[in-house]
Amino acid sequence: MTANVAASRLQDSGAYALELDSVARHFGALVALTGINMRIAAGERRAVLGSNGAGKTTLFNAITGDFLPTEGRIKFFGEDITDLPPHERIRRGLRRTYQISQLFGGLSVLDNIYLACRGVSRKRYSLVRPKPSDANRMQAESILHAVHLESVRDTPVSNLSHGQQRQLEIAMALGGAPRFILFDEPAAGLSPTERRDLIEILNALPAHIGYIIIEHDLDVALRVSEYVSMMHNGKLFKEGTPEEIENDPQVQEIYLGGGHG
């Protein structure tokens, strides 16, 4: 059963990475999220599916603090982070990517990744230029290789192709020592080859790093996740293994039938 997957993981790690307790988010009269309860074990890889406007990205924004939830509590590895500003959550090991690339267009690819590494380390205010031997600089170089962007190392990010920007978007979440990553539609607009690369990158992540992935492409989503949560109209309405979700008639009606057309 599905609960056993999470339960066995819990025994391994002894902690939940994320615990959401009746989280809600309203925008005026619009209810974007309501009554979200979620438990995600450390190292678990979960997909969140749902049609456009189901509240998936709002869920991410509530977890990272881009928007604070209107109600409910959020715990990250046992610590209540509901009232922490975004950068404090990131320093505790949470990371995210964005559906629409959010990059530093005026800086080089390497500098983008370097900052992603430096953000969670010391000397953020240093007035000294980073040396090539700097630990964060070296981590940035190795992430650069991992996401296959060596050829554009010193190119300003605004000159990159869409696919390269998406690769960099993922690289930005790998800096420092992430413990849990939220991937917001990482495959959007990628070519079939780039999708294969993406799946490879996700499957190559160290086992202790868990993630939630929002993905419209079921091929990608079901291949990189062990458990799936379905969202509809701001609520979680079904959870299960990829097989269970794929074969669920209700899911097929709402998501595959309606949202995918």
């Binding site: 320093r91 969670v120 930005m172």
Partner: protein, 342 residues
């Protein structure tokens, strides 16, 4: 480029030469030799004055070019430093004037300028774009009216007179040549600091915040704190310019920091270009030359029109200022070169 230089196995001395660049050496030689060929008027009224206003515009350029925050209050922070010199040093106005030595007054003036800048920065970093401009314009206006109406601390309308540059080890910095070199050293330090720090970790964070503050938060940076620190540094440079400005004028009054002066700093920065720290100095030289000689060309009643037309032309033909014109020219030459080779 920097990484290549760092990998280069050449000696450290050659390394340093390559990093500083030939252009900088030529410029330094010209500026150092300038007093040999220039009259006292050109040395202080054009040379010194341009360097001072270049520093003021540089402090704006640091915030606007690298941090994306356009401030109209840089002249006010220079004013904070200037009034500190008047109040804690010596003045002729028989008000306050504690007579502290310059080496005590100067750091104090820089400290007050930088902290007030950080404070205003802290208030205005919640805003963006046009609202930052409005808040800082309000600050500049309020500062002007406040010092004009307050007589106990700022001596109101007349302000302070008799503020003199110090005599250090027998060198009188009131004399044109020492004063020019003092301005040159201060301007070079500010310029080099900004140029170097632009590629430092803090410089990168500032440019990244300009490009995308949301992502900066999502990789662990406290965006507000970084912006406030940038305001602090900008205040240091504005404060240094402010001290030199009161020594240049020998006085400070509300007129030094009025709204026209505040806008002047913005015009200098835009005319020069915000993309490189040399821009503000080029802009300052152009504006100072025009303010000095436009009267001779078009008469006393029309000189502001000439400056206005020049400003319009620059903004119209090159949004990146004179630096941008240089960039366009270089690109065109490179294209011509390619064509001629085919």
């Amino acid at each position: 480029m920097n990484a290549d230089v760092a990998r280069d196995p050449a000696t450290p001395a050659r390394n340093l030469l390559a990093r500083i660049g030939t252009g900088h050496f030529v410029l330094a030689a010209l500026l150092l030799a300038y007093p040999l060929v220039s009259s006292d008027f050109f040395l202080t009224q054009i040379g010194g004055y341009s360097l001072i206003f270049g520093m003021l515009a540089l402090s704006l350029s640091l915030l606007a070019g690298y941090g994306g925050m356009v401030s109209l209050a840089q002249i006010s922070f220079a004013g904070v430093a200037g009034y500190t010199v008047a109040i804690f040093g010596e003045n002729n106005s028989n008000i306050l004037g504690f007579g502290w030595p310059w080496w005590l007054v100067m750091p104090l003036a820089l400290f007050f300028a930088a902290t007030s800048s950080a404070l205003i920065g802290w208030v205005s970093v919640r805003t963006e774009g046009i609202y930052t401009i409005m808040i800082t314009l309000a600050v500049a206006t309020a500062a002007f009216y406040f010092v004009r109406q307050n007589y106990t601390l700022f001596n109101g309308f007349p302000g302070y007179t008799g503020l003199r540059a110090p005599i250090v080890f027998g060198v009188n910095f009131r004399d044109p040549v020492p004063f020019y070199y003092m301005c040159l050293v201060a301007a070079t330090l500010s310029y080099a600091a900004v140029l170097y720090a632009a590629r430092s970790t803090f410089g990168l964070t500032l440019q990244a915040i300009r490009d995308n503050p949301r992502r900066m938060r999502a990789i662990g940076f406290d965006v507000t704190a970084h912006k406030v620190v940038a305001w602090f540094y900008a205040g240091l440079i504005a404060g240094l310019a402010g001290v030199l400005l009161v020594w240049f004028n020998g006085r400070i009054s509300p007129g030094t920091i009025n709204v026209a002066a505040a806008i002047n700093v913005l015009i200098i920065a835009v005319i020069g270009g915000l993309k490189h720290p040399i821009g503000p100095f080029i802009g300052a030289l152009m504006v100072v030359l025009m303010q000095t000689f436009a009267i001779d060309i078009v008469g006393a009643e029309r000189f502001n029109t000439l400056i206005g037309v020049f400003f319009l032309a620059i903004v119209f033909f090159s949004p990146d200022g004179i630096l941008g014109l240089w960039g366009q020219l270089r690109q065109r030459l490179a294209q011509e070169d390619l064509r001629s080779r085919q």
